[in-house]
Symmetry: C2
Subunit: 216 residues, 2 copies
Amino acid sequence: MARTTGSDGEKTEAAVREAAAGLIARYGYEAMSMRRLAAEVGVQAAALYRYFPTKEDLLFTLMREHMEGLIAAWEMARPASAGPEARLAAYVRNHIAFHIERRHSTHVSNMELRSLSHDRLTRILRMRTAYEKELRAILRDGAEAGVFSIEDTGLTAMALIQMMTGVIVWFRPGERLSVAEVTATYLSMTMRLVGARIDIGIPTAPRVPADAQRAL
Amino acid sequence: MARTTGSDGEKTEAAVREAAAGLIARYGYEAMSMRRLAAEVGVQAAALYRYFPTKEDLLFTLMREHMEGLIAAWEMARPASAGPEARLAAYVRNHIAFHIERRHSTHVSNMELRSLSHDRLTRILRMRTAYEKELRAILRDGAEAGVFSIEDTGLTAMALIQMMTGVIVWFRPGERLSVAEVTATYLSMTMRLVGARIDIGIPTAPRVPADAQRAL
DNA sequence: ACGATAATAAAACAAACGTTCAATTAATTC
DNA sequence: GAATTAATTGAACGTTTGTTTTATTATCGT
């Protein structure tokens, strides 16, 4: 009734993170009890407190690492120097790929913000704002360069992000559409939405050519 | 310690509904206790059970009435016979207006589905699907008539709905933009997104003419 | 082989939860 | 004005919650 054979702190902590993201995504933060989480990991509830002082610490860790991962992914994917269209395309591709790959933590980071304390909420929102600022900069540059037609940069950025993040609500891998197909379609919807004239770079998608593309 | 002067069943029930929508939207269904809700209404927790047998019944009632209201609003707003552009414009206007007006119940209906029992979840999703089907029909008609350029009808419908519903996440009345301005901008973003050539009907918005509208 | 430490189990805590029940008073009906 | 019904209170029930404490065992460095 104590330490079990083969137990390893790092592995347990990783298992807790993953199980927590899954359970919170499915049932919600408040609905997930520490005992249920412990059972999912195959451990007693008290063991969780060796890795996370409180339940909220666990939630905050998941969110912080999600946002850090998102920003890091964008910094890797960001083109060093390119036109607004190419930068926007890179942003869309990175955003959709990241959010589909990390569905659970995306759900957590988007739906459970209200369960954070004021300070921690502020810190997460700061990261989010920094990430969204990148998109606004791209849109502004494109509008000033005359390659985009945008009425309101901030509003367009929010609309695009909501649209893209919404993928995780209905997308299930292995159903009608592949990730590449979804990404390609969202890319052309984005380009049309911002008023870009040409559909730059859909090279990754071996997709059936669109039946009606006259507007471009 | 019993019936209070001036107490009225109908008024209390309405107050419970409204307070519940607000509390659930702010703190989440699981985080809202029946005692907290009762305190908000100015009543004891036991009194709530005169109107709603269980907490989940209350949640389901809020969601069902939200969806019924949304569908009813669309049936009122739907043009009897008009082209796809006008029908799409009506859909967008109705959707945004309804969701901004009923921010709280929208939040509830979108975020708390997982707290419903299987049967009730099915019933709510059925209503939602019926509502979304209207949009898909408009998009399909427009694509077939050649006035829209759409790659994937279902995917475009989901993208539009996510984009429009997302308004409630950041929009706060009385800030930078008015409802009319937001609606007008979303309308033209929608029209561009579906590849419509002309921007039919933005007559309701006394907006500063967009600085860059070259694509239309 | 052994001491130190890492990892866990088991039991317990007070607090909060949804819900029920009997008692009590206001409003309505006849 | 008495009888009936509507609306609510206050107290209580058994569970479940997040968390703490203490004891116990596995692992690792030496």
